[in-house]
């Protein structure tokens, strides 16, 4: 079982309290009516599907209920960091130390 650090509770807790919520930093367009079909396709369906460090959203559903962002290595399944929703994307080069 993974242990995930919730940035709102400041605790490292079992994976079963959390749910995965897809790739992070997908920004909804500010003027939806100006979007082309191709733009919508990109927003709705096209994801980076990276091999390695992946920016993704998680929700502490059975706890504080908050969505937050995480960087997880999709190969080793190790979490590099977690941070509150709305905070900027952390620089990968600073994430050398593996957080539990």
């Amino acid at each position: 079982m993974l242990l995930i650090h919730c940035p709102y509770c400041s605790e490292t807790l079992p994976e079963v309290e959390f749910t995965y919520a897809g790739e992070a930093h997908i920004v909804r367009p500010e003027t939806p009516s100006a979007q082309s079909d191709a733009d919508w396709e990109g927003f709705l369906f096209l994801r980076s599907n990276v091999r390695g460090p992946h920016y993704e959203r998680w929700r502490h559903l059975h706890g504080c209920g908050r969505y937050f962002n995480a960087v997880r290595d999709t190969v080793s399944d190790k979490f590099l960091t977690t941070y509150k929703a709305g905070e900027p994307r952390p620089d990968l080069s600073t994430l050398t130390v593996t957080q539990k």
Partner: protein, 184 residues
């Protein structure tokens, strides 16, 4: 006031040398969501709301547990609920918030005894000892979301939604017997 719909009657459900599980009498429960400057709400409730997730506060018979950054669970005697709802409605203009009477939604179990914390590991994946005495948490117990209040090192309350209550109570009853059998 929402009607209390639990099919469980209050009283002791299981007891052994290891632990004791009982169903508590119905109490008033309020779910509160609010952000910003909470001083108006705190004045209306007569209680300083805890800001740290898991923190608790009490004023008389009113108890508050911080579930998330903007979410609290309040417990109070059934008779006090309408007064609290009215008092908070009075400050709605100053601080818009959500206060919902959920008294009928849940039932509480009292879990105590020398091996009460061990009994909880039966269905709870988190380390029970990270919940300090006098704190509480929302967590997962055998697949259903529950709120755990730790009143003493060996005394807990567990708030359970009605539809999961009979399943969880049965699980705890089995656990109480198992732990006692181990001790022999």
């Amino acid at each position: 006031m929402t009607a209390h719909t639990s099919s469980l009657s209050s009283g002791v459900a299981a007891v052994s040398s290891a632990a004791r599980v009982s169903v508590e009498a119905p109490c008033g429960r309020l779910s509160l969501r609010a952000r910003g400057d909470l001083s108006a709400l705190e004045g209306a409730l007569g209680l300083a709301l805890p800001r740290k997730v898991g923190g608790r506060a009490a004023a008389g018979e009113l108890q508050a547990l911080c579930l998330g950054p903007d979410e609290w669970m309040l417990h109070a005697p059934l008779a006090a609920v309408s007064g609290l709802v009215e008092a908070c409605a009075g400050v709605y203009g100053a601080l818009p918030h959500s206060l919902v009477d959920v008294s009928g939604r849940e039932v509480s179990f009292q879990i105590s005894g020398p091996r009460a914390a061990e009994l909880l590991t039966l269905g709870c994946a988190r380390d029970i000892d990270t919940i300090a005495v006098g704190e509480g948490r929302r967590t997962l117990f055998d697949g259903s979301t529950v709120i755990l209040w730790r009143d003493a090192a060996d005394s807990f309350r567990m708030d359970v939604w009605n539809s999961f209550a009979s399943h969880l109570l049965h699980l705890l009853e089995v656990g109480v017997r198992e732990l006692a059998a181990e001790a022999l």
